[in-house]
Symmetry: C2
């Protein structure tokens, strides 16, 4: 099933789909050459928004959860991709230590962990779970809805302090599924003998969205030439505002000015393309995730009149991290709908390969709202026919595999941007 797109607006994207399908050999070769120069993140998920006139990534997650939402039929693809990744980092790897999020009681999240363990076992790794939580002082069993058991174990440094592992378990590779919003725990520092993936500076303690989208600008500029489209079709404008203090109302004028600048640029593009929608921007914390510290803004004056509740909401994100820098990102309407509910595609990748995806479907939210809000109820809907090859001869907009291929291409642009971003922000480029 191809989700329903508002028909009046889908002209430009049908054209994009057509151009992408026709340029497939050139696109894939381009990616192949880029991955000769740049190392892809170990894994990654990308939230896309499809407005019918624009298709753009709005969030690139380097510690993806939600692998349990992928169609089981896609798992062999994930295993194959994980094999390629493992081989690159640690060809003789035998033991993998997986470090999940600390809030270990969420069964949806635990199912994601179980799925990751299943994938890595199949690539030839013994997988065990180490917890950053101080509550885990001994091996602790957690039951999943299907009755299977996950065992969280306390992390320990080796006697000489140089390695990280569990009791009786010395891993060659340590994989984080924890985005380090709470900062870098000292137990993860100075692990020079083991491969830690993703690297510490990929965590939100260090990472900034504006760095990512600056890298994405570069990537999309090159790509747009290959398929001959306006880069804006694939790229949301953005700006940054620093040293904001929402509690004390410091920096409001700067923020308003940046919001206005981005809105002005969007209006110009809307005029150029005859788009009648109302422009909006999303203001969100430059560091952090999980849909906290996010607001939709349609006019610069809106950010000057925030009430206490709104300011409190913007001031902190996950794990109580204070927000002082924000990104002002062009809002991309989502006009994909499934059963009249707003749908947002999410694409999953391992190494440089697309391994699946699903729609985040939310029946209570509008087309210009964030669908990944805390506590938001969403229905993961695996992409239909994602395990089929594109059909160059199908009429644009009618074939699910073609739509999914286009999403995979754009998601991989964000993946490549993440790779450039991590290179540029690496504190120790020589050991990278």
């Amino acid at each position: 099933m191809v989700p329903h797109l508002v028909t009046a607006l889908n002209g430009p994207l049908l054209e994009l789909e057509k151009k992408i399908l026709e340029a497939t050999p050139a696109i894939e070769r381009w990616f192949r050459l880029e991955w000769q120069e740049h190392t892809p993140p170990f894994y990654c998920s990308v939230d896309l928004r499809n407005s019918g006139f624009k298709l753009a990534p709005v969030d690139t997650n380097l510690y993806p959860g939600g692998f349990n939402n992928l169609a089981p039929e896609m798992l062999p693809l994930a295993v194959q991709a994980a094999m390629a990744a493992v081989e690159k980092y640690c060809p003789d790897a035998k033991n993998l230590l997986l470090i999940p999020e600390r809030h270990t009681r969420n069964t949806f999240y635990l199912q994601n962990v179980a799925r990751l363990m299943q994938i890595f076992r199949q690539t030839g790794l013994n997988v065990r779970l180490g917890s950053l939580s101080e509550d885990i002082k001994e091996p602790t069993n957690l039951e999943l809805p299907d009755g299977s058991i996950l065992t969280m174990e306390p992390l320990e440094r080796s006697a000489n302090g140089r390695r990280l592992g569990l009791a009786g378990f010395d891993p060659c590779t340590i994989l984080l599924n924890n985005d380090l919003s709470a900062g870098i725990p000292s137990i993860l520092e100075n692990l020079n003998e083991q491969t830690l993936l993703p690297p510490l500076h990929a965590g939100w303690a260090v990472r900034r969205k504006t760095n990512h989208f600056a890298a994405y600008d570069e990537v999309v500029k090159k790509f747009a030439k290959i398929v001959d489209v306006d880069p804006w079709m694939l790229n949301p404008y953005f700006a940054k505002a620093s040293q904001i203090n929402f509690h004390e109302r410091i920096g409001e004028d700067l923020l308003a000015a940046q919001v206005d600048a981005v809105l002005t640029k969007i209006r110009k593009k809307y005029k150029e393309y005859g788009i009648k929608e109302k422009p909006f921007v999303i203001v969100k914390a430059d560091a952090g995730t999980y849909g906290m510290g996010i607001m939709t803004v349609r006019d610069a004056s809106d950010v000057k009149d925030l009430n206490r509740k709104q300011r409190n909401k913007m001031a902190v994100v996950k794990e109580g991290l204070e927000v002082s820098d924000v990104i002002i990102q062009e809002g991309v309407h989502t006009f994909e709908q499934i059963n009249e509910a707003v749908a947002e595609p999410v694409v999953y990748m391992m190494d440089r390969y697309v391994v699946g995806g699903f729609y985040r479907v939310h029946s209570d939210r509008g087309v210009d709202e964030n669908l990944n809000a805390p506590g938001a109820h969403f229905v993961p809907l695996a992409f239909a026919q994602q395990h089929a090859l594109p059909d160059v001869h199908a009429k644009p907009g009618t074939a699910s595999p073609n739509r999914f291929y286009m999403y995979g291409v754009v998601a991989r642009l964000a993946l490549l941007a993440a790779s450039l971003e991590l290179e540029k922000t690496d504190p120790n480029p020589e050991v990278y």
Copy 2:
């Protein structure tokens, strides 16, 4: 659906399935390490036979046709594997020249060619077809049942004689889907500037089955230690008889002696395991394919009493190649049945990855006969649920994905053997 296995005999294989599933991380790591040392063939298909007490490869094809018989859902896996392969041989490859079999009018075969083109296009290659046939003097269109068109073009050497291509098409990589039974055409020789895959010595003009199975002996000896089984469970005995002339009845005694030697070894094993079946061997040409020059032999005296028709049948294989050397291979009954027809699993691989498979089903043949006879009518039946991960908790013998995983493991043993075989038989190891 798991094809029906004769219940009385399937004990040993259920045990093998269980051992293989439990040892998955060790098995996959072992393969990973082996592929650090050895380069997998570009692509490969392996015919397996499952007797319930034994699971063994009986034929390893380095120029696989039949990609059109794979389930379309498996194609993304093939694309991903092909990406890994292309990247290894020629990372900046742009153009791929595919050289198919000469008998270009067989629409089943042409659909295989179309499928391969579709896969390689998706990996970022422009693909065109060059023909070894002398009848193709200009671009010739061939129509497929679905109405699409394949264009066969005459091969041409570049002006300086150093490269092979088509008019206006200079490939970096040349992929053969032609097993060179007719010998090595001079137009393919001395192509030092381009990557020719598989290498010329993989063709039946040079290749010998006995070399392959000697390499398989080595591989299986190592593997059997990891899963703790008798290597014979996975390995058919074989012997060789050289300088036979079937027309002139030269070498019959040698052949009979070798047949007897192999039958004696099988009988001993059957006794050890209490197997009540009647042992048999397959005598086939040491070079060549396509089910010609093959016979089932249950007693050594049988090969001394061949009538003229039988001798003629054994004396030549595809493309009129004379048979002088034969392999005498332990026959493996096939006790897999689908709707009471005999079924033989075939597994397809690209690079080091399993990308799908199907059952060759033949309703008119016996459990000890070759199912790949010329003109044989077979029904390709894509493995059910092959795009699912194995389930360690399922009862042995009940889960299709587990059966398929076991087949994939054994097929990859043959793949690894092919890699060793090509290394050992390489006439120019320094340029390998």
